[in-house]
């Protein structure tokens, strides 16, 4: 019996990067685009990781996930607005001290709203996909309207803290400082998720629940509580992702969640529903593809991720790392 890991999908990202290298014309441009793509991918992964677990474990099509992204970003804008002295400082540590509580507040608020969202919107429609789509989209519309009530309907600027603006020069390549931070945050989130899922009993339960919820219950575990916990964590991660995305775009609109929603569904479909590792790979591929196509064929940028999804699904109809029994 072989202990074989399916490594072929892991080659997709380096192959994509290598194919882009001669097309971009110079190594420095390629490096800039690659780091930008990886950063974008990491931010999308942070948002998508919660959704793929919710999808995989709870079989819930949560089209309202985007509202937690927007909520996280708007909460962060309020927190950062209160810490103007810290964000305006040129010292990196003072900027990070401002960003960190903004992230925590965004996660806490998104998680708390997620708890209510699961209880009142999702729970009545467990097992009913069509109703889930309709009611979670309705929930997102209500959430967007509430954001407009609190923060107003207009676009809100979310400038980067002083020390995170600009780029580092590596040779001729300009590497955005904020994008390096985004990569670091994404790596930490992936590390924590991978450790939790792979090394703890809660993680085992989640992985088992993604495959066969009924059997987990037959072993004596109350999966309903696990559902709620995963939904809250998924919402909190979306809130964190919203902070990162908001700072990435540097502008917030109440509809920003809906705009990102399409991207994250593409990511989790590419990755295989319920697979965290698959979501990371899918997010990196989408980030890289969007940046390369945005540079090479700007008019096709909107289609880049859809084209990627179609190509991957033609190769692996269940996504790159499908979870068994689903």
């Amino acid at each position: 019996m072989k202990l074989d890991f399916d490594w072929k999908p892991l080659l997709l990202a380096p192959i994509l990067a290598l194919v882009a290298l001669p097309l971009t014309g110079s190594v420095s441009t390629w490096l800039t685009l690659t780091v930008a793509g990886l950063a974008m991918g990491m931010i999308i992964f942070i948002i998508a990781s919660g959704l793929t677990l919710v999808f995989g474990l709870m079989d819930v099509l949560n089209f309202g996930h985007g509202v937690f992204i927007a909520l996280g970003a708007f909460v962060a804008s309020s927190v950062l607005g209160l810490m103007g002295d810290w964000t305006g400082s040129g010292e990196l540590w003072r900027n990070l001290v401002a960003v960190f509580p903004a992230m925590l507040a965004a996660m806490a608020v998104a998680g708390a709203i997620g708890l209510a969202f699961e209880r009142f919107i999702v729970r009545p429609v467990y097992g009913q996909h069509l109703k889930q789509i309709l009611i979670t989209m309705g929930g997102m519309i209500i959430g967007e309207e509430l954001i407009k009530v609190i923060w107003g309907p207009a676009q809100i600027p979310l400038p980067l803290p002083e020390a995170l603006r600009g780029s580092l020069l590596v040779g001729d390549a300009a590497i955005s400082k904020y994008r390096l931070l985004a990569v670091a945050v994404g790596v930490v989130v992936f590390g924590v998720l991978a450790w939790t899922l792979g090394r703890t009993k809660i993680g085992l339960l989640i992985r088992a629940g993604v495959q066969d919820r009924e059997m987990v219950e037959s072993l004596g575990y109350r999966i309903g509580r696990l559902f709620v916990g995963v939904f809250v964590v998924g919402s909190a991660l979306a809130g964190l992702g919203g902070v990162m995305w908001g700072l990435f775009q540097q502008n917030l609109v109440p509809q920003m969640g809906a705009q990102v929603n399409v991207l994250i569904f593409i990511v989790i479909i590419i990755g295989g529903l319920g697979s965290t590792g698959g979501a990371l790979l899918g997010a990196l591929l989408v980030g890289l593809m969007t940046n390369y196509i945005g540079f090479l064929l700007p008019t096709l940028t909107q289609f880049a991720s859809i084209f990627l999804m179609v190509a991957v699904l033609l190769w692996r109809p269940q996504g790159v790392y499908p979870v068994a029994n689903r």
Binding site: M1, K2, L3, K201, E217, L219, Y221, N325
Partner: protein, 242 residues
């Protein structure tokens, strides 16, 4: 019903959606014995097991376990009372390793090191494949090895009642013999077992008591020895020509 029965079903009726599957099942599982639940395909055997486990709820009737009414309890609550269930599809978590499957089944263990060592050695003796493929993905096991893992999971911690659905299904004869030996050992350990089976030879070698289902009811119950000795009864209830 006798107080020596660990599990009793009285007039249990179960509906699945619009379908009326169980039409008043009366069943007694004596403590410390192996009860075989037999019947043709579609007789309601699996539905009976799932109703006992709370995976489908009885619309009428009563399920009692160790003197407690469990009819309305949820599946995890029933499992916590000491009932282990091995479904027909074995319910193996194929993306997890054999070890991880066992850790999950051992509710009180945080990790593999916390599983009772003596019990684990006993399981390894019963089912050597579980030890051999300890760190391998469970999805890579053969059908027989998966069945061994499924039963091992059910007994990794002491349980009062094991409910097992068709353990011999799809297994090679040599695997069936191994399984019979293992169930024999489990019987000797004093655990109560309710086993659904289609393989009459398997049932005859292991069963202490038997209940035969037809059309959503138990139409015969008694000792396996008497049932085995009555070819005409087997013919009429199971359509067997032995």
């Amino acid at each position: 019903m006798s107080t020596d029965n660990l599990l009793t079903l009285e007039g249990v009726q179960t509906h699945i959606g619009a379908y009326h599957i169980l039409h008043g099942v009366d069943l007694a599982v004596p403590k410390g014995q192996l009860t075989m639940l037999l019947g043709r395909n579609g007789a309601g055997k699996t539905t009976t097991l799932r109703t006992i486990m709370g995976l489908w709820h009885a619309s009428q009737g009563r399920v009692q376990f160790a003197g407690k009414d469990i009819t309305a309890l949820h599946t995890p609550q029933i499992a916590e009372l000491g009932v282990a269930y091995v479904p027909e599809n074995m319910g193996i978590f194929s993306d997890l390793t054999v070890k991880e499957n066992m850790v999950l089944a051992a509710r009180s263990a945080k990790n593999a090191d916390a599983i009772d060592d003596t019990r684990l050695k006993w399981i390894f003796k019963l089912f050597p494949a579980v030890e051999k493929f300890w760190n391998h993905p469970a999805g890579k096991l053969s059908g027989g090895q998966k069945q061994m893992l499924a039963v091992s999971r059910a007994i990794v911690e002491p349980r009062q009642l094991l409910i097992i659905d068709e353990p011999s299904k799809g297994l090679a004869p040599v695997m069936i013999n191994n399984m019979i030996e293992a169930f024999g050992e489990l019987k000797r350990s004093g655990v109560t077992i309710l086993l659904v089976e289609q393989n009459i030879h398997f049932a005859q070698r292991l069963g202490d008591t038997v209940a035969v289902m037809d059309n959503g009811r138990v139409v015969h119950s008694g000792s396996m020895a008497a049932f085995s000795a009555d070819a005409q009864l087997q013919q009429s209830l199971l359509g067997l020509a032995l």
